[in-house]
Symmetry: C2
Subunit: 215 residues, 2 copies
């Protein structure tokens, strides 16, 4: 029962996706993955170099599935739109961001979005160098937003009556920290709103405004 390859790369990847979607990204271990794929843990090492290699391949596969919707004609709006797609794609799979900050390569199949930001920025009047600077600023902002938001969600799930975490904000010294004290009650609400678009637009507008207007 078994001379032809019984376990394929595709099967392993599919099992990994199932595992992540069902149990969460942090529960993906080689041993559990092997169980999910129906093989021995050691067999996996015939198809991937190590766990890092597995994750990289997983990420590339995911990036390939990313939608490539039509882009607005206005270049500035195109920068915004491209960033928003990056953000929405990654927000749906926040583990990918954790991966991206660790193995910081965007993956071949996501490069078209980097290109989109760069080309649009140049159309807005940026030099190539400035385009890279803008792209990097947007990426920092986006990666930070997703990471923090993802872990916020996870923390909220754990935040039972037994271990409340917001006491620090609540018990704030009114004299020394008046703004925080005044906002303490509304802090949870205020920080749970989605303000990604607002900050993104501020960043892009603020960056482009320093350039000489074309024409």
């Amino acid at each position: 029962m078994g001379r032809p390859p019984r376990t394929s790369r595709a099967e392993i990847m599919a099992a990994a996706r199932r595992l992540i979607d069902r149990d969460g990204w942090e529960r993906l271990t080689m041993r559990r993955l092997a169980a999910e794929a129906g093989t021995a843990p050691t067999t996996l090492y015939h198809h991937v170099r190590d766990k890092d290699d597995l994750l990289t391949q997983l990420l590339d596969d995911y990036a390939e599935r990313m939608p490539r919707p039509a882009m607005p004609a206005d270049p500035r709006e195109r920068v915004i739109a491209a960033a928003t797609i990056i953000r929405e794609t990654l927000a749906a799979w926040p583990w990918a961001v954790e991966m991206l900050t660790h193995d910081n390569q965007v993956g071949r199949s996501a490069l078209w979005m980097v290109e989109m930001v760069l080309a649009s920025a140049v159309e807005c009047g940026c030099s190539p160098e400035q385009a890279v600077d803008l792209y990097r600023s947007i990426w920092y902002y986006t990666a930070g937003e997703i990471l923090i938001r993802a872990n916020r969600g996870r923390r909220q799930a754990e935040n039972t009556d037994a271990n409340p975490r917001d006491d620090r904000i609540r018990a704030v010294d009114v004299a020394e920290l008046p703004q925080l004290a005044a906002l303490a009650d509304r802090w949870a609400d205020l920080t749970s709103r989605d303000t990604y678009a607002l900050g993104l637009r501020s960043l892009v507008d603020g960056f482009l405004q320093t350039l000489p207007t074309p024409g």
Copy 2:
């Protein structure tokens, strides 16, 4: 030899700091920490609830050591200055950011910096809600920058001749990705520059510019 407490919280924290500074944040384990502190791993659990608790205490201690330099008079410059201090403080200890995105509470002793941003933003003409939005945008940008930069450094160290990682950018399709192709040779240089201040200023300027000018 041993009825009075031989191991104190302070000793454990000092050992943890030594371990992190010497071997790096990812090498901090309960077992290694115990060895460094000269006790049994199980003894640690008398002084901290679990590893997460240890890290939180470690972070609070660190935040307390943070400098509180004089702030500029101009409120907009104060926003910039406060953010820059956050960034510089955390950049010196990047593991803290990783911690912060996981256990997303700034720590009591860092709250004065949040207050600084909020109060300055209000002085710039923000409503309290807008001040929170600006603070959050800045925090996303800052956290992302530090995380990505920290892991960039780590990756560079590992990037031997044997496993080059920049091939993706180099082997880019000139027809489909012209901007990237044109920048390929300079990509490493361009992305290693420190552009934190530039992006921060863009973000703050872009945000504040949408407000009605006071006076």
